[in-house]
Amino acid sequence: MTFRLGLIVNPIAGMGGTVGLKGSDTPEIVARARELGAEPQAPERAGQALGAIVAANVALDLFAAPGEMGEAEARAAGFTPKVIGSPVEGDTVAEDSVRAAQAMAELPVDLILFAGGDGTARDLVRAIGGQVPVVGIPAGVKMHSAVYATNPRAAARMVLRYMQGGISIRELEVMDIDEAAFREGAVSAKLYGYLKVPYLPDLVQGTKAGGVSRDRTALAGIAVRIAEAMEPGRLYILGPGTTMRAVADKIGVEKTLLGVDLVRDGERIATDAGERDILAALDGTATIAVTPIGGQGHFFGRGNQQISAQIISRVGLEHITVAATMEKIASLRDNLLHVDTGDRALDARFSGWRRVITGYHTDTVCRVST
């Protein structure tokens, strides 16, 4: 059967960047960007990728979102796409990307090629989660997610390689920051979910965002190590992310990817726990196991605020396990870790060097900056 490729372009992605607006998440920002003379970035970058795919001259059925959201770029590149859905009047909004992606997942297509930024990737998480693998053409202002190819040509290469077969799939992180806070100068990235991406580590942005682990063995080793060290009766507070999900898998319990789950005696006793749930469960001894966010290095205060300063203080700094693969450590600027618990005195106690678990019997030491 001919390979079925979906195409979704978020035509307004990246508009804020050239005029210093740090994103284009709301209609107001897009309007402001137009006033400042911003040009859409995504159509051109999508065109570069599509051009490289056309040049390869391989048989594929292209399913494009309507109008500027893919159809126009596809036609410009020389494709005759099948159009999914009806054209949108005026600027597109997130719901248009979501609808297009859902329709493509229902067909289903074999792979979705999309052009956009972190907001677009979040829309895809919401629309299709892990149903269909994706390749991202980087075209946004914010590129904290690990799911993008490093550039449009690399995106084209990923599509072509995946079509050839023999390429496996990895779940990579979709992150975004609070644009309002970003405009105020504060960066606060949050993990929104995962998309499935063909595993071609040379071509995925990953290392900069710290999402790609070439070394599945290390992740499995971390999981076994933490699981083996678990003591009866002790409460384990497992933070978000694939590293902690691997730990949960090892002991045979379900894990919410983005939430904090509580485990005791091999049983999950709370799912997606909030601060109050954790405090209620916290009697006697407990261990917190967390992983830093790739690329930026926070292990408290970003995406796991439910593990509050009060909880951290009660558990005790000596009962906190920080785990990350060496690749993730390498993705951090100067190998620095960060905490932002909201309690400056507590943050200061983290300051200095900290052991980080990197595998079954392997550690490293990283400086914690507050």
């Binding site: 077969g165 779940e171 580590p201 070439r214 060496m326 079954y360 392997t362």
Partner: protein, 532 residues
Amino acid sequence: MSTNKTGFQAARWNEALISELSEEGARGIVPPAVDAEIAAAVGDVAASLPPGARRAAPPDLPEVTQHRVLRHFLRLSQMCMGFDVTTDMMGTCTMKYSPKAHEHIARGAKLADLHPLQGVDSLQGLLELMYRFNRIMCEISGMDEFTFQPASGAQGIYTNACLIRAYHESRGDLGKRDEIITTSFSHPADAATPAVAGFKVITLMPGEMGFAGVDALKAAISDRTAGLMLTNPEDTGQYNPNIRQFVDLVHEAGGLCAYDQANGNPLLGVVRAGDTGFDMCQFNLHKTFSAPHGSLGMGCAAVGVKDFLRKFLPRPLVAEDGSGGYRLDYDQGEGIDKIRAFIGNVHAVLKAYSWVMSLGAEGLRAVAETAVLNNNYMLTKMRGMRGVTIPWPANNYPKLEQVRYSFEQMFAETGVTSHDVIDRMVDFGVQHCMPSHVPMLVPEPFTVEPGESLTVAEMDQMLAALQAISDEAYSDAEKAQGGPYNASTTRIDGDVPEDPDCWAFTYRGYQRKKPMWTSENRRKIERHDGGY
């Protein structure tokens, strides 16, 4: 637009596996039948075997004619690169020319006909050579005793880990001291082998100079510290100038220090591990000492220790017998008994001995100096190449025998990766380069180690190939991304080389795993193993 002016085209035989060449009844050699008289006298030779040792069915060996076997292996050899065929600067591997005179000596009957179990009386020449080379290695390294038992670099490093374990065990400290410290740019075996020996391993990350700082070491040291195991210069070609302080701090904490000198080429006659305070060290005779490196065979690591660790070395050691001859000392000591059978890959020792004797002390220092000079010639030229950067620009110390370059800029500007460059190099008739050991901390890494054997013309040949690829990346990126075109094989993509499900070391393993390799099945496996 670049062009490949070399006209190079590798042999491409599409050769099947030897087992796939099998044809029932085909024979390479048909031995004459056993003489009837002998057969009658001996009877059924298999009858004396216990049933458990007897095969129910003959082994599934390939049946191939003699000339087809010859063609098979000659074809494979034609599809190989290496130092004897072309310019080879495989980083971290210390590729150098291995003089053929030494090969001839090693293949001669005087060595080849020896058996490891024959009496020492008839092994005196070999033992004398081993003993003399032991003293030479002590002089080169500042150690007091060597063993040549380990058959590979990693096995040598493992020996060091075992020596550290034996030392602490002898003092009743092993339960308490269970951590080895290493650095991220040391050879991965400095982390892997202590793990095999039962230690936990702490890896220090590089600071802004590209090597681990003293503060990081202090943060890792504790009363659990059993030892320090590292390479210096590291795989980046950078020498950690804090090394003496590292050794002192670990000693103060009660740990031992092991110097992995797989990167020892630039240090011959310049720095000695013993003088730097190390308690033990290891050299790869198949790298620095010119016993050939490659094909994962015939390796030999020389492991040296200070006197107080002599009793822990694997046995037997070659010793003087007190009457002008030599003996094998099996005295058990408190040691690790054996790393491998007998006294080592003696032909590698013989080649290394021949190499050292042909150079002399001054010659060895010239090796180190020439290797460093060649490397800095390459560095100077590579600096000006478009798309190439040198990591840690803050570090102005000279590089020693190799450099880990980065194609990060080229990748950002053209989409051409270091993997692409490496795959394309072969089209220019030169051996490809090593990107990096894992974990790959330098983006788009590329490690070049020219060694001392190469002439300026040979280095210029390599530079011309790299320059052509750089030009091509900026003018025709697609072409640069598609290599190799003229090589014996096409490129292998994705995670195939690092996925254990794709590895097959035997024909049976190959047959068992082959059905898993269709793209659909690989995707299914991935979903099934999602637990990672």
